[in-house]
């Protein structure tokens, strides 16, 4: 079956030069199906990533009564973030920031070692686009069939295939949007309400938003997201160097390219299989390009062709630029042939894993892990916030004494009910009472916590009439547990008239 002719994809720069316009119309990419090791790895990762994404909200985790039993949940209503045994309050969102920092540095490290593995294998854009392309291929056929279909007039077959494709795409997109909202609402409790139209407007909004973006980005925008929208390809060059693994075409072995039967040529038979399978529609033989997402499908395609021709595999491979340059230098003086191939392959260099860049990334990674771990281990579960009344700033009592009022907010992140005595440290003579609080044997007010919540108290601190104090005196509220250990201390001030 002959190749269907389609306009050759031109690079935007070329289009710009010829017309003087800055705008380049998108050339639709029709990636061809491919089999091989990389493809298998990609299917595996796709299944893993999507499997996790769609099923994690269904995992249950018992947290006791009146608490959500979903293992991973961002509870917006109650302001809690649950992750298995971890529970984070809104003011502790820095743990999340820390995780994002870890993710970023991890990404930097992975990129400096293995190139664009994130882009090529795990990025949601890549994963969903891959899935959408699978659907497209199953319904409309492979590259040639799809190109033919697009050139066809609108027949009933055209309509049937296109409609079915978009229906399945929308179904996948809806599942994506549906799973997204399950991370923010109890999945089991919300699903029935969602389907009976009883869920909140936000739920339907975010469901629609993520359904629409999935459908548009994976179905229509595809490689344009990577090339034009995503900032990552633009600055990831700062993480890559000549010792990072990248998808390379071994030009020293392939060139000069030409028909297989002709003598005196390199191993590249110019079959363009690598171009046809490329999801971003580039030619890897042009060298390193920003559009290359490093998915390695061209490796599979080329290996397949080499295998059929009875030539060794690896004309396109994951390799460092250092190794490539070494092979090139060794093979250059030799004419095409088995000897050049052996010589070039021999000259390859192992990847240098330990180098300043990777050491710095590892160091920063370790540091952030240590800081996060330390912060988590030393995390305070009890907190005391002291809010001094501002109106009135102070109250003059009938006997001439001065009184300040404070609102105390006692937070407890554990499940139990704790009891603390409240002690006031400040100038001698100040007396402390807490409204509606019991007293311990020593006369200090006793404050109780609420499981996983905040209790609020009103404290009145009085300076008797004779006590002469400056306008502002620092005071400290302390929570003391039964054994006499100070659990929390919070500083505030006691204000009075100018002496």
């Amino acid at each position: 079956m002959g190749e269907v002719k389609s306009p050759e994809r031109t690079k935007p720069a070329a289009a710009q030069a010829s017309t003087g316009s800055l705008y380049a119309t998108r050339q639709k990419v029709y990636p061809k199906a491919v089999q091989g090791t990389v493809r298998k790895a990609k299917w595996l990762i796709l299944a893993l990533c999507l499997g996790l994404y769609y099923t994690v909200p269904l995992i249950r985790w018992d947290r006791g009564p009146e608490m959500p039993d979903q293992a991973v949940l961002v509870d917006m209503t109650h302001g809690r973030l649950f992750f298995f045994f971890i529970e984070i309050w809104p003011q502790e969102v820095y743990y999340l920031t820390g995780l994002l920092v870890l993710g970023a540095i991890g990404l930097f490290a992975a990129t400096s070692l293995f190139g664009r593995v994130w882009c090529g294998f795990t990025c949601p854009q890549t994963v969903w686009t891959d899935l959408f392309m699978l659907v497209e291929r199953r319904i409309q056929g492979d590259r040639n069939a799809r190109m033919k279909l697009d050139l066809q007039p609108w027949t009933s077959e055209w309509l049937r295939k296109k409609a079915l494709t978009h229906a399945v795409w929308l179904g996948i997109a809806a599942a994506t949007g549906g799973a997204w909202i399950m991370y923010f609402n109890d999945a089991l409790e919300m699903t029935p309400r969602f389907f009976t139209g009883q869920a909140s407007l936000e739920v339907y909004f975010f469901f629609s938003l993520f359904t629409a973006t999935t459908y548009l980005l994976a179905g229509w925008a595809r490689e344009q997201v990577c090339t034009y929208m995503c900032p990552w390809p633009r600055f990831q060059a700062a993480m890559l160097d000549e010792n990072s693994l990248v998808v390379t075409y071994r030009a020293w072995r392939g060139e000069p390219r030409g028909k297989a039967k002709q003598d005196g040529l390199g191993d590249c038979v110019d079959c363009r299989a690598c171009v046809h399978v490329c999801p971003t529609g580039i030619d890897i033989r042009d060298g390193q390009q920003m559009e290359c997402i490093g998915c390695g499908l061209c490796i599979d395609a080329c290996d397949d062709v080499m295998g059929r021709l009875g030539r060794p595999k690896g004309l396109i491979a994951f390799e460092t630029l250092t190794s490539l340059a070494a092979s090139e230098a060794a093979a250059k003086p030799l004419p095409p042939g088995p000897q050049r191939l052996a010589c070039g392959m021999q000259a390859r260099r192992p990847q240098k894993i330990i180098r300043p860049r990777t050491l710095v990334y590892a160091g920063v990674l370790g540091l952030v892990v240590a800081i996060m771990g330390g912060a988590w281990l030393l995390r305070e579960t009890t907190s005391l916030a002291v809010l001094r009344d501002r109106a009135p700033i102070f109250v003059k009592l009938s006997d001439g004494g001065i009184r300040n009022a404070y609102t105390l907010k006692l937070g407890d992140k554990t499940r139990g009910i704790e009891t603390y005595s409240l002690v006031l440290d400040g100038p001698k003579g100040l007396s402390l009472i807490v409204l509606d609080a019991e007293s311990d044997p020593a006369g200090a007010p006793v404050l109780t916590t609420r499981p996983d919540g905040i209790t609020q108290w009103r404290a009145l601190v009085t300076a008797p009439a004779g006590l002469r104090l400056p306008e502002s005196v620092p005071v400290t509220f302390r929570l003391v547990d039964a054994s006499g250990r100070t659990e929390v201390r919070t500083a505030s001030v006691f204000l009075g008239p100018k002496p």
């Binding site: 109106a391 009135p392 006997d399 001439g400 009184r403 009022a405 009439a465």
Partner: protein, 289 residues
Amino acid sequence: MPTKVEKDSITGQETTGHEWDGLKELNTPLPKWWLYVFYATILFSLVWVALYPALPFSGATGVTGWTARGALGPELEAERAAREPMLAKLREATPEQIAADPQLRAFALAGGRIAFANNCAGCHGAGGQGAPGGFPSLADDDWIFGGSFDAIQHSIRHGVRNGESEEARGIAMPRFQVDGLLTAAQVGDVAEHVLSLTGRATDQAAAGRGAPLFAEQCASCHGEKGEGNRDMGAPRLNDQVWLYGGDKASVVRSIGWSRAGVMPSWGGRLDPAVVNMLTVYVHTLGGGE
């Protein structure tokens, strides 16, 4: 209108036929899509004017009859209905019972804070700190009519010297100088005696002359030692809290011309549940009694 279409020789575009000093204006029509969107907005606005109140005349409500005020009613009704179970409990319970129940107390304090800001803060200040000129502080320990739950509730419900409620607090203080009950000199002497109650008299002789006058004229309400009388709303005179100022001039003014703070009765204006919430909230401001 130009009779024939003229084209610009450089760009090949039509001109409008307008020419100024040899410069011709090119005719660049609006994009079609823009034009049609513009027509669509005009159409939309016509439909809108027909359906909704868009014209500045009373009664011009549009054919749907929709009004913002009309839409608000059901929302408020729904809000009231949602609060009703809690408000019913607050209505039936006494302030003591509310304060003792953690759930009711939390609701009452939150609602009381809002009700206080809406109704009371204008005179008594945002935190109940009071204001000079007869608006008592609610955050101190000096209660003119009592600081127990019942006393606060009664004061809120019936108000002070307002003529609205028969149970309103306080009686009128005589205008001793204006009405000729005391001479100006006697008023000064009594004022000096009042200051002596808190040890601030500067003229002991005058204070001595004022003592029998005080016993005769003032003690029946303010007490022999100026300890005050809550039933009559006669404030304590032997403490450090002065509603109308504690300097001699202010005290003279108070005796000679009288003072009479007024507060509306809120029992007829506010839901009994709101009165109860306010009672519990005010009680927490200064710790109550």
